[in-house]
C-alpha cells in the first residue's frame, strides 16, 4: 500500500470514528488537535476571486492564505491540507456532519449560526459596501442609492439588508456576483453590494482592472470567523494561532497580497479584531 493510500485510509478511519462518536453522548475529541499527523480538512469557497478561488487545482485568495497560515501554526504543512468546497447554504451542515474540520469561507459570525457551530476568530471585520464604476462619483454611500439600481446575490444577507433599510432602491438579484459584475460593466445596474472584501476581490481581477472602485463607506459589520464543529476542541488553538498571525505581521502580508491590487484596506476602526469569545 502506497503512502498516499495509507493517508487516505487513516483519514477515512478518522472520519468513521468521528461519525460514530458524533452519535454518542460524550463525544470524544474528533479533531486531530495535536497536529502533525494526518490531514486537516478545510472548507472554503471555490468561486470567490480574492477570497477563495480554485484555479485548476491550486487554491488562492485571502481565506485560503489565512487557512494555510493557521494550519501551519497548528502543525500541518500545506500538503496535509485537504480542501473541499463549502458553498454558503451548506456550511453548517458540512461542519455538523463532520465532513470538514474547519471552514474559512467569508463566514460571518451570527447568533443563529452559533446555535449549530462554534467560531474561532474573528480574523477580519468586513462590512457591506458598494462597488461602482471607476468614473462614477454620484454614489458615495448608501444614502445616495435612492432611485438607483443595485445588484446582489439572491436571498443573501446584503440583499436583504438593502431591501429592508433602503426601500427606495431597486434590487437585481443573480445567482453569483460574477453576473452582477457583468451587469455593472454593461451599465445596467449602478452598483453592486456585498462585503467589501468580496468587492475588492472582483475589482482586483485582471479582466476588470481599473474599471471599478469600492466606495469605502461600509454600512455593516461582518465578523469573519472560522467555523468549527461544536464538539471539536480546536477552537481556542485556532484563536491563539490567529492572534499570533496578527502579532508576527503575517496577517498584514496576507491582506496586502490579496487586496493590495484593489487598493482595499480593512476598515481601520474595527480592524485588527481580537480573536476569541465565540467558541463553544
Amino acid at each position: 500500500m502506497s503512502k498516499k493510500n495509507m493517508l487516505r485510509l487513516a483519514a477515512l478511519t478518522a472520519a468513521a470514528a468521528l461519525a460514530l462518536t458524533a452519535c454518542g453522548d460524550d463525544a470524544a475529541d474528533p479533531g486531530t488537535g495535536d497536529g502533525g499527523e494526518g490531514t486537516l480538512r478545510i472548507g472554503t469557497k471555490y468561486d470567490q476571486p480574492g477570497l477563495g478561488l480554485d484555479e485548476g487545482g491550486t487554491m488562492s485568495g485571502f481565506d485560503v492564505d489565512v487557512a494555510k497560515a493557521v494550519a501551519e501554526k497548528l502543525g500541518y504543512s500545506e500538503d496535509q491540507i485537504e480542501w473541499s468546497e463549502s458553498p454558503t447554504p451548506q456550511r453548517e451542515s458540512m461542519l455538523e456532519t463532520g465532513q470538514v474540520d474547519m471552514i474559512f469561507a467569508t463566514y460571518s459570525i451570527t447568533d443563529t449560526r452559533k446555535e449549530k457551530v462554534q467560531f474561532a476568530g474573528p480574523y477580519l471585520v468586513a462590512g457591506q459596501d458598494l462597488l461602482v464604476k471607476a468614473d462614477d462619483d454620484s454614489i458615495t454611500g448608501p444614502q445616495d442609492l435612492e432611485g438607483k439600481l443595485l445588484c446582489s446575490v439572491s436571498g443573501s444577507t446584503p440583499a436583504e439588508r438593502v431591501a429592508e433599510d433602503y426601500p427606495g432602491v431597486q434590487l437585481q438579484e443573480y445567482d453569483t456576483y460574477s453576473l452582477c459584475v457583468e451587469a455593472l460593466a454593461g451599465g445596467r445596474v449602478d452598483a453592486l453590494t456585498t462585503d467589501d472584501t468580496i468587492l475588492a476581490g472582483y475589482a482586483a481581477q485582471e479582466q476588470w482592472a481599473g474599471q471599478f472602485k469600492v466606495v469605502g463607506a461600509p454600512f455593516s459589520e461582518e465578523l469573519y470567523g472560522v467555523g468549527i464543529p461544536k464538539e471539536s476542541d480546536m477552537c481556542e488553538q485556532v484563536n491563539e494561532a490567529l492572534t499570533e498571525l496578527y502579532e508576527d505581521g503575517t496577517m498584514d502580508e496576507i491582506i496586502d497580497k490579496n487586496f493590495g491590487p484593489a487598493g482595499y484596506t480593512p476598515a481601520p476602526g474595527t480592524n485588527p479584531p481580537t480573536p476569541g469569545g465565540h467558541c463553544g
Binding site: T88, P89, E92, S93, T112, R113, E115, K116, L149, S154, G155, S156, T157, E160, Q170, L171, Q172, E173, Y174, D175, L179, E182, A183, G186, R188
Partner: protein, 225 residues
Amino acid sequence: MLELIERFDFFSAVWMTVKLTLWAALGSLILGTFIAVLRLSPIKVLQWAGSTYVTVFRNTPLTVVVVAANLVIWNQLGLEVAARNATYLDDTNFRLAILALVAYHAAFVCEAIRSGVNTIPVGQAEAARSIGLTFGQNLRHIILPQAFRGAVTPLGNVLIALTKNTTVVTAIGVAQVSHAMRRMIEFRSDVLFTVFGLVALTFIVLTLPLGILTGWASEKLAVKR
C-alpha cells in the same frame, strides 16, 4: 413553521410561483402548438424550423435559458420589457422569466402534442385529404382536436414539470418559492429541515391536484375508438 411563513412572506412567494406557472403554461401551450403545426406541415423548411427549435431548447439546461434571457436580452441588447417605474427590475425579471419558461417548455409541449397526433389512425388524415380538406382544415377539424384529447397525460406531465421548474428563476432573482427558501436558509439555518419540509409540502399541494386532474381528464376526454 408559522413564524417562517410570516417572516419571509411565504404566501406571496407561493402566489408568484402560481403566476409564473399559469402564464408560462398558457404561453408554452400556444407556442408549443404552433411549433407542432410546423413539424406536421407538408413544407420541408417549416418542418426543419420546428425540429431545430425543439432540438435546441429541449437540450439546453433551463438555468442557461433563464440567465441568457436576462443577460442577452436585457443586459447585452438593452431591450426594455418593462416601464421605468418603481417596480422596473421586478417587472423586467418576471417577464423575462416567463419568456424563458415559455421558450423552454414549448419544446416539450410540441412533443406532447405530436405524441397525441400519433394516437390518430393514419387513415383519418388520408380520408380527410381525399374528401378535399386543405391542410389547415384537416388540422383544425380532424387532427388537433383528437391530438389534444390524446395528449392530456403528457401535457399534464409537462405542466407538473413546469410548476417545479419555476424554482430555477431564482437565478435572476424572481421572488418565488425557492427564492424564499434561499432566504430562509440564509437567516434560519437552524431550522433547515422545517424549511425543506415546508417547500416540499408546498409543491406537493401545487402539483398533486394537477396529476389527479389530468389522470381523470385523460380518461374522460380519451377518444373512444
